[in-house]
């Protein structure tokens, strides 16, 4: 009994960690095969991380002293994996009571206590894009996070400096909501109309405030403040990156047309199962796609998918990433990326880019992460075999040079907080459908779903 308590004390030391601001670490990873993404594969190469940043990459680097040394001989060192579509680590997912909710933000619902975070780290993931749900045409703002597991403070997970992003949703999810509630939109036509209306409303709003600000006499009364309109104005001015849940080729094309009309240049399509059908158009617009490796047939709008989506898009010059949208899939994104070799023969580097540099670009954080380059953050995943092999097992995961996962120091119970009144044996039998929050997003006139805070 005492031994167990001792284990507890040693093992759970991290739970008492208090991070005033994100901890930065130092580590020297020696002699691994470095998959840099931007500079090819570097054999027998060291990576030195100091104060959370990659300071040096080279062979036989000298130990600056007082730095933890990791012997990566025979192992593969890649950039920490980035999941561009996730719903873990959040206490609410969807404010589904309105079809336009640009004003809400996932930063208000970050949950650092989710064990899924640790399990993602155990799959080599270091950053995620915590997204709003897909029930609304214009959904809420998303939050880019780093998986600094072990803290009770949600602010510690924020990816400082990451650009603002927002969720749009097209197709069956929002139209189903409209049909249930007896309001627009109930068709894809209505979805487009709602987006155009919202943009035009925002332009009016901006005009009113610009007029007020231009002539600021002390006797002028300010117009009404509307956080929703403020946010949409920011979208129009390119200050917020739009990530739109979408499936069908025609709605993907529609959104690009709408965005062209309003002068919005940056756009990433999420899921985009039929993106391959409009690959040339996506490439011409400069839009990106963040897709599944092979999920399909769960709804009518994905019935005509192909697992060759990633290969077709990549070959047509579209920046493509593979995401999970699932607390289960996130744990083996390296395997999901590897499927692009089976379906379309992407090269090793192309496949790895799908889960590193490409999603980093889609989130606007490519100057910080997504490759192993001097100056970038020390977000690293180490595998015992090449990550694209089915037999690869993640060994260690670093965020900002701090080790958050080590397979040799892994305890089963990784919960940060335990309810003293919980039962010892709480078995939950998962069904496939339980993970696909985004995909089968039930609409919120079903009162049960509506009130569901906890996912």
């Amino acid at each position: 009994m005492k031994k167990f308590i001792l284990n507890l004390i040693i093992g759970f030391g991290f739970t008492t960690m208090v991070m005033a601001q994100a901890t930065m670490g130092d580590v020297l990873i020696k002699n691994g095969t470095v998959l840099s993404i931007t500079n090819g594969t570097l054999e027998n190469t060291d990576v030195l991380i100091e104060d959370g940043k990659i300071s040096q990459i080279g062979q036989n680097l000298s130990d600056p002293g007082n730095v933890e040394i990791v012997d990566a001989t025979g192992m593969f060192v890649m950039p920490g994996i980035i999941d561009a579509h996730s719903h873990i680590a959040g206490t609410s997912i969807n404010e589904g009571t309105s079809q336009v909710t640009a004003e809400v933000s996932m930063e208000d619902v970050v949950n650092p206590l989710d064990v899924s975070i640790y399990r993602a780290l155990a799959g080599g993931v270091t950053s995620i894009h915590l997204m709003h749900g897909s029930a609304n045409v214009i959904g809420g703002q998303n939050e880019t996070l780093k998986l600094r597991y072990g803290t009770m403070n949600p602010d510690d997970l924020r990816f400082e400096g990451a650009p603002r992003t927002i969720k749009f949703a097209l197709g069956e999810n929002p139209t189903r909501g409209g049909r249930r509630r007896g309001i627009q939109p109930q068709t894809r036509m209505g979805v487009e109309a709602m987006i155009r209306n919202s943009f035009n409303d925002a332009i009016e709003y901006r005009k009113a405030w610009n007029q007020y600000n231009a002539n600021r006499s002390s006797r002028k009364v300010a117009p009404e403040y509307d956080l929703r309109m403020e946010t949409i104005v920011d979208i129009l001015e390119g200050k917020i990156l739009v990530h739109s849940h979408s499936y069908r080729a025609d709605e993907i094309y529609m959104l690009m047309s709408v965005f062209s009309d309003f002068g919005i240049e940056k756009l990433t399509f999420q899921h985009a199962n039929e993106a391959y059908k409009v690959a040339p158009e996506l490439a011409a617009f400069g839009a990106s796609a963040s897709i599944f490796s092979d999920w399909w047939a769960y709804k009518l709008e994905v019935y005509y998918s192909t697992a060759y989506n990633a290969a077709i898009l990549t070959n047509n010059g579209v920046n493509t990433s593979i995401n999970s949208d699932s607390g289960e899939l996130i744990r083996h994104l390296f395997h999901e990326a590897a499927k692009s070799q089976k379906y379309g023969g992407l090269s090793d580097n192309e496949a790895l880019a799908l889960i590193t540099l490409n999603p980093a670009m889609q989130l606007g954080i490519e100057n910080r992460v997504g490759s192993i380059d001097e100056g970038k953050d020390g977000d690293i995943a180490i595998f015992d075999k090449h990550p694209l092999s089915i037999y690869a097992i993640p060994q260690m995961t670093f965020v900002d040079g701090v080790k958050y996962f080590d397979i040799n120091n892994d305890i089963a119970d990784q919960r940060i907080m335990v309810d003293p009144e919980s039962t010892i044996e709480d078995v939950v039998i998962f069904n496939r459908e339980d993970h696909e929050i985004c995909m089968l997003e039930e609409n919120l006139v079903d009162l049960y779903e509506l009130f569901n805070e906890e996912n």
Binding site: I5, A20, E95, T97, T101, P154, E421, F451, N452
Partner: protein, 559 residues
């Protein structure tokens, strides 16, 4: 004609004033309930005027609503009722940081037929910051008497509601004819909680946070507009009279704090974010998990009332058969139980002064919980401070309450031994100078009236047909704790052993309500029924979905 009416009106007004003044100075009381004297002297007691100070063999005089003297050699007025306080302790009356004491939950709003969920009416959405708890006060509410019985004399009472239920007031836990009789101070707080609109915007935390920011910002603009207009309206469009925004004005100018009913650590952090962004004065009214936040509480100037709702101590089976895994899981539960219990001491060590709140705890558990804290480094002096001086300081009433000092309100608790001992009982409570006696019983079973014992106590099998299907199960009423309590089960597995609240039985009609967890959201059900013999016929109403349906129940034969 008009003149006559005016005169009549004025006459009536005059008469009513006279009547009021007659009543307050009435000498004759046919009911016999008026006290013989309004001056009391408790002698030879151990008096604890403030935490850490003891006066052995002391005397305290409470007269006409105030404490007039405390000490050893105190002159006892001739007209005083003298109470022998030998072997008794006297403390300043306890102060409850936040609860719904005295407030009756209003009938739920019906869901409008053409509800436009993205933009519901404010009152339906629960955005009613302009409402005062005074409107909900019902002096027949048993909560007042229940809290008083365990030594509380002042309660910061807040209204029932959803996201922004309204303004709180400090009330004295005494009897009265009219709610105005118990009000000590009004408009002391703006209550906020993370409770969404039923089926409308804002539905959950996401919408609530955004709505808050929007309301606050617009309140700032509207206030500025109103001030500008008030100083010189010429040429300015008239300001909106939006009552919701107006309710925020005192919060915007920092004269009124926001009291957040955030229990868990994460909810508390969301509230702290809002405070950081907008700068209003924030108090946590009912915080359960402070221990993960101590550093942040330390740095901010947030006031804290800790919830008296403590977790049950986890069982630890200690047999040899236990697998390593189960032993570890048990140990983890204990670890977090300890952290919760240790947090009161931890807060003190961090120099964070806090009070207690009784929201959501049944009065019978409160003393037990406070006593339990003493096993975790939180001694009785600290507990007393939390119940009295700290709370008074946070609520801004230190000059009139919190200690036993001449000149302060006549609020005191007299116990048969140190309050914080298990065995001691509350004998007398003074509120606003009124004396309330309590009988100490060996077993605590006669608190419940014979009528209730006869008609209500027992196990009932109930059956109701709701729009969603059959609901059935058992309701058990007992009086083991000395007061009428009840629990309800659902045979369909929707809920088990849910504690009933606001149980009242009057003239054959039983009412109670209970709250269940419906998919992560609290849903309240209110039951009203008439009891005839061992049959109950009535109605269950579900305010959240504005629906009600009939229910019937039969009391089981105990044999």
């Amino acid at each position: 004609m008009k003149l006559l009416r005016k005169l009549t009106f004025r006459l009536l007004l005059l008469l009513s004033f006279l009547m009021v003044s007659i009543q307050s100075h009435a000498q004759s009381d046919p009911t016999g309930s008026s006290p013989a004297t309004t001056t009391y002297a408790i002698t030879n007691a151990t008096i604890v005027p403030s935490p850490g100070i003891k006066i052995e063999g002391g005397t305290i005089i409470i007269s006409d609503g105030l404490i007039t003297d405390v000490g050893i050699n105190v002159t006892i007025p001739a007209y005083a009722e003298v109470i022998d306080g030998t072997d008794h302790y006297v403390y300043a009356g306890f102060i409850d940081g936040m609860s719904n004491t005295g407030a009756k939950r209003p009938e739920a709003m019906e869901r409008p037929d053409n509800l436009f969920t993205p933009d519901p009416p404010n009152d339906y959405a629960g955005i009613t910051p302009e409402i005062s708890v005074v409107e909900q006060l019902d002096l027949d509410e048993s909560s007042i008497a229940n809290l008083r019985k365990i030594g509380f004399t002042i309660s910061h009472s807040v209204p029932h509601g959803k996201m922004l239920p309204g303004k709180g007031a400090l009330i004295l836990l005494r009897d009265g004819e009219h709610p105005d009789d118990v009000i000590l101070k009004q408009e002391v707080s703006l209550l906020s909680q993370f409770v969404g609109a039923p089926g409308a915007y804002p539905g959950n935390t996401l919408g609530i946070m955004a709505k808050w920011r929007n309301l606050y910002k617009n309140a700032e603009l509207s206030k500025r507009h109103s001030e500008m207009y008030a100083s010189n309206p010429a040429g300015i469009v008239r300001p909106s009279q939006d009552r919701v925004l107006q309710a925020f004005y005192p919060v915007v100018d920092r004269s009124q704090p926001v009291f957040y009913n955030a229990k868990g650590m994460l909810e508390a952090r969301r509230a702290l974010s809002l405070q950081r962004e907008m700068g209003f004065n924030l108090a946590f009214g009912n915080l359960e998990q402070a221990w993960p936040l101590i550093n942040d509480l330390d740095k901010s100037s947030v006031s804290v009332f800790m919830s008296l709702n403590l977790p049950e101590e986890p069982e630890t089976a200690d047999n040899e058969d236990l697998s390593e895994e189960v032993a570890q899981l048990q140990a983890r539960r204990v670890e977090f139980y300890n952290r919760h219990m240790n947090q009161f001491d931890a807060l003190n060590n961090a120099g964070i002064s806090f009070g207690f709140s009784t929201m959501g705890v049944s009065a019978s558990k409160i003393k037990k919980n406070i006593v339990a804290m003493q096993d975790f480094g939180f001694d009785s002096a600290e507990a007393l401070a939390t119940l009295t001086t700290n709370a008074a300081a946070i609520l801004g009433i230190s000059n009139i309450a919190g200690t036993l000092e001449a000149g302060k309100l006549g609020n005191a608790v007299v116990t048969t031994g140190p309050y914080f001992n298990d065995e001691s009982n509350v004998k007398i409570v003074f509120v606003d100078g009124y004396k309330y006696d309590y009988e100490i019983k060996e077993s605590s079973s006669t608190e419940v009236s014979d009528e209730i014992a006869n008609d209500v106590l027992g196990t009932w099998d109930y059956n109701a047909i709701s729009p969603q299907g059959e609901i059935s199960g058992t309701i058990i009423f007992t009086d083991e704790t000395g007061e009428l309590t009840g629990t309800i089960n659902s045979a369909q597995g929707m809920y088990a052993d849910v504690l009933l609240s606001n149980i009242s039985y009057r003239e054959g009609t039983l009412t109670f309500d209970y709250t269940i967890d419906f998919g992560g959201q609290s849903m309240e059900l209110i039951v009203t029924g008439d009891i005839i013999g061992s049959d109950l016929e009535g109605e269950i109403s579900v305010p959240a979905f504005s629906t009600s349906f009939p229910v019937s129940a039969t009391k089981k034969d105990p044999n």
